[in-house]
Every structure is written in structure tokens, then in C-alpha cells.
């Protein structure tokens, strides 16, 4: 910044300066997109802008508090409603517990390792969305929980309906989540109806996901539910991801074009949950069954 007001301006002209800074920017762009050179720089700047993001969040939190205050007038009704939902969920949970017990029992009979128990055990941290980018290029959100809250890279992020995305960049007090809809993001999934396994990838559009490389005659229907398969160990199994929206089967092509919409409110939520899996045990558990199945 030029501080002293000079009578005659010295130094390079506007175009020369633009050239220098454009060159610097291009270096940054190439270094960031091709080689991922600047994680420390990103970290440092992330710490610098965190207070600004906090200040920017104040209006939203005030809005939330006012909304809560208004909602507190019909607390009784809400309580009754929630109690009903709780009872309904409770019934399903009881069923789940008995099913889980039965499943473990059956697995024991088969001699397989109890992998489900270790893989589905998750801890959840509630986080609020600090920022969503304006431009359609980055399908990412910033959350207000980071390394200081024991968040780790690669953790799954969900809302009340399904998978939202995955933590891809960590700052001390905040973290970046790549959404399902991001072009470079894929989730291993399974069709609920016939447990067909596949991988669903983002398209860069807000409400579209794509199932790639499924052949034209694949058994998949409109309205099929896709849930995480748990393969890869990033996402816990069985969490809803998307619903199949439309299928175009072009007999001349090799693959069917299958478009689905994410179940979770990928671009609507204020609060999300960050899940952490118990990783090291599950890796052992995944290793074991191969030997076992060989014996069988």
C-alpha cells in the first residue's frame, strides 16, 4: 500500500503492476489446483478470517434466538409432537436392537467376525454452517467446528435426512465440508431394493447426482433409494444418500445415464452433524472375514 501521498507518483505503471500481480495470482492458481502446494498458507489465512466469519454469523444467531423465542410460545404443543415422534422412533429403535442382536447371533453361527458393531459405532458433533460460497464452482460449506473440537479430515457430515458431505479441510476452529454435489466428490452406495453396489458422484449442479458406469440393462428403477454401503470406510453404512430421479437407457451407449437427487438438504441447513467412525478396529474387521470365508 502506498502510504505517503507524493506529489509525483513514482514506481511502475498500472499495467506493469497488474502484470506482476497477475503473475503472482497465476502462480497461486496453478500451485493450488495442480499441486496443492499451499495448505499452510490456507491454514494461516483461515485463522485470520475466522473472527470475521464469527462476526458475520452474529446476525444469523440473533435471528435464531428470536425465532427460538417466538417458538417458545407453543412449546407445549411442540413437546407433545416431539414426544409422539420419540415414541414412534423408540419403537423402531427397539426393533433395531433386536435385529442387531439377531444379526450378531447369525454371524456367530456363520463364524464370521462381528464387523457391524465396530463399523456402525459413531460419535456425532453438532456444527453450524458459517458460510456457503456464492459461486457455483465450489460446492463446499464452512462449519464452526474444527481441529480444536477433535474434528478430523474425512469425517462424514449428515443432517436429519441423510449424507451432506465430508470434511476436506481443517482449520483450528472451523472446517470445510465438500458437499455431495461437488464435481470431485463420490460416495460408495447401495440400492436398498436389491443391494446393487455402485458409486454416486456429484455433477456440480445443486440437486443432481450421477451414477456412473452402470450398464444399460442394470436393474435400477426410478424412485430407488440409495444408501451408503460403508465400503471405503469413510461413511458409515446404511445412511440415505439419494433417490433415483430419472434413468435414460440409450441402447447405443455402453452405460445408462442415471440421475438422482440428494436426500439431505445439501444447500438448506443451518445445523449439521459431524460423524466420526471408529476407524482402526473396522480395518482389522474388514481384513478378517476374507480368511474366514475362504475356510467356509
Amino acid at each position: 500500500m502506498e502510504t505517503a501521498p507524493q506529489f509525483f507518483r513514482h514506481g511502475p505503471g498500472p499495467f506493469a503492476r497488474l502484470f506482476v500481480f497477475a503473475l503472482l495470482s497465476c502462480l497461486l492458481i496453478v500451485g493450488d489446483t495442480r499441486f496443492k502446494y499451499f495448505p499452510q498458507l490456507r491454514q494461516a489465512i483461515g485463522v485470520v478470517i475466522f473472527p470475521l466469519q464469527q462476526i458475520a454469523y452474529i446476525p444469523a444467531s440473533i435471528h435464531d434466538q428470536v425465532e427460538e423465542f417466538i417458538a417458545s410460545f407453543n412449546l407445549l404443543e411442540e413437546n407433545i409432537q416431539l414426544r409422539q415422534i420419540y415414541l414412534e422412533n423408540r419403537e423402531q429403535l427397539l426393533k433395531l436392537a433386536s435385529l442387531e442382536a439377531e444379526n450378531i447371533h447369525l454371524r456367530n453361527l456363520l463364524g464370521a467376525v462381528q464387523q457391524i458393531e465396530t463399523k456402525t459405532r459413531t460419535k456425532a458433533v453438532l456444527a453450524e454452517i458459517l458460510y456457503t460460497p456464492r459461486d457455483p464452482f465450489n460446492h463446499k460449506i464452512t462449519l464452526n467446528k474444527g481441529g480444536q473440537h477433535h474434528i478430523q479430515l474425512g469425517q462424514a457430515v449428515i443432517d436429519d435426512k441423510g449424507i451432506v458431505g465430508q470434511v476436506t479441510q481443517l482449520y483450528p476452529w472451523s472446517s470445510e465440508v465438500t458437499l455431495l454435489t461437488d464435481r470431485d466428490h463420490s460416495v460408495p452406495v447401495q440400492v436398498v431394493r436389491n443391494s446393487l453396489r455402485s458409486v454416486v458422484s456429484g455433477t456440480g449442479k445443486n440437486d443432481q447426482l450421477e451414477l456412473r458406469y452402470l450398464s444399460v440393462n442394470t436393474d435400477i428403477q426410478q424412485g430407488d433409494q440409495l444408501v451408503t454401503s460403508g465400503i471405503g470406510g469413510v461413511y458409515p453404512p446404511g445412511i440415505p444418500v439419494a433417490t433415483v430421479l430419472r434413468i435414460e437407457r440409450d441402447p447405443t451407449g455402453d452405460f445408462a445415464q442415471i440421475i438422482s437427487t440428494p436426500v439431505a438438504g445439501v444447500d438448506r441447513n443451518r445445523q449439521v452433524l459431524i460423524l466420526s467412525l471408529v476407524q482402526p478396529e473396522s480395518r482389522d474387521a474388514l481384513e478378517m472375514p476374507k480368511i474366514e470365508s475362504g475356510k467356509n
Binding site: M1, P14, I49, L52, Y57, Y131, N138, T142
Partner: protein
């Protein structure tokens, strides 16, 4: 009507613009959110040239890039282009009042958005749809009230040597 601006005032306005950019908006409002930092940078460089150099714009761009979770260098390049354009056309733009300036600023904002799109495409993104350019429209509409506000705030600051 030249009112000198202190560096502090410029810095505070830039930080405020950055906070406005970081507001946690979601859904349809997001489409209309202009780039406040770009507008403020353009204002200072037109009305008080050489107060805010290209390096300051570069720094603001870096902050914006990390906050925006985008490619590093995207907004730095865009803001430097704004500084360049306003340096070249600033003297001409100062002849007009802020209402007449607005469409020309709109053009500068459009060029900035095109720079941002070009960088995004170089990173492998697809072309955005027309909605993306609403930000330029709102930025253009915001120019006159925004520059009026900044000028007013500048004038209101009483200089201690007046009495």
C-alpha cells in the same frame, strides 16, 4: 469535492465489506449477493486513487479466496483487475456522478466475474448458468447508494483542526 480519507477509514470499510461477504446466507438470496469487497475497492480506487494499492487488493483477494473455499488466486486476480481498470478509467469516471457511474461500474464488475469464471474453468469447473450474473446486477444497483454512503461517512468525520 475531494475529502481526504484516512488509511484507517479505508481499512475499516474493507473489513466491513469482507464481513458482509461472509454473511451466512443460504438459498435464493445467495444468488443476489453482490461482491461488497469489489465495490468498496472500486470506490476507493476511483475516488482516492493510489490510496489503496494493488498489493492491498491482492491481500483482500487472498482472504476472500480462503473464506470462499475456492481456488487460491481466483479473487486476487479479479481484484487486481478491478484496481487496474479503475486506475485507467478512474479519472474519466470521476467526471460523472454516482448514478451515471453505475452502468460503467457494472461493466467492470462483469469483467471481474468473467475473470473469476475463467479461473474456475481452468480449475476444471463447468460454465455457470445465467443466474450467476445477478451478482453483477445487484452490485451495479448498489453502486450509487454505496458510494453515497461512503462519501457521506467520509464527510461526517469532523477534522479536529476545523475549529
Amino acid at each position: 469535492m475531494y475529502v481526504p480519507a484516512s488509511n484507517w477509514f479505508i481499512a475499516v470499510s474493507l473489513v466491513l465489506a469482507l464481513i458482509l461477504n461472509f454473511l451466512p446466507l443460504q438459498g435464493d438470496i445467495l444468488i443476489f449477493r453482490p461482491d461488497f469487497v469489489a465495490i468498496v475497492i472500486a470506490y476507493w480506487n476511483i475516488n482516492h486513487p493510489h490510496k489503496m494499492g494493488m498489493s492491498a487488493a491482492f491481500g483482500m483477494g487472498l482472504l476472500m479466496d480462503v473464506g470462499n473455499t475456492g481456488i487460491l488466486g481466483q479473487h486476487t486476480l479479479a481484484y487486481c483487475v478491478i484496481i487496474y481498470l479503475t486506475l485507467i478509467f478512474g479519472r474519466r469516471l470521476r467526471l460523472f456522478n454516482s448514478m451515471q457511474q453505475a452502468p460503467q461500474i457494472g461493466l467492470i464488475l462483469l469483467i471481474m466475474q468473467i475473470v473469476i469464471i475463467l479461473v474456475a474453468i481452468s480449475g476444471g469447473s463447468a460454465l455457470p448458468d445465467g443466474q450467476y450474473f445477478f451478482a453483477t446486477v445487484t452490485g451495479t444497483l448498489l453502486w450509487a447508494p454505496g458510494s453515497f454512503l461512503l462519501t457521506m461517512l467520509l464527510r461526517q468525520k469532523p477534522d479536529p483542526d476545523a475549529l
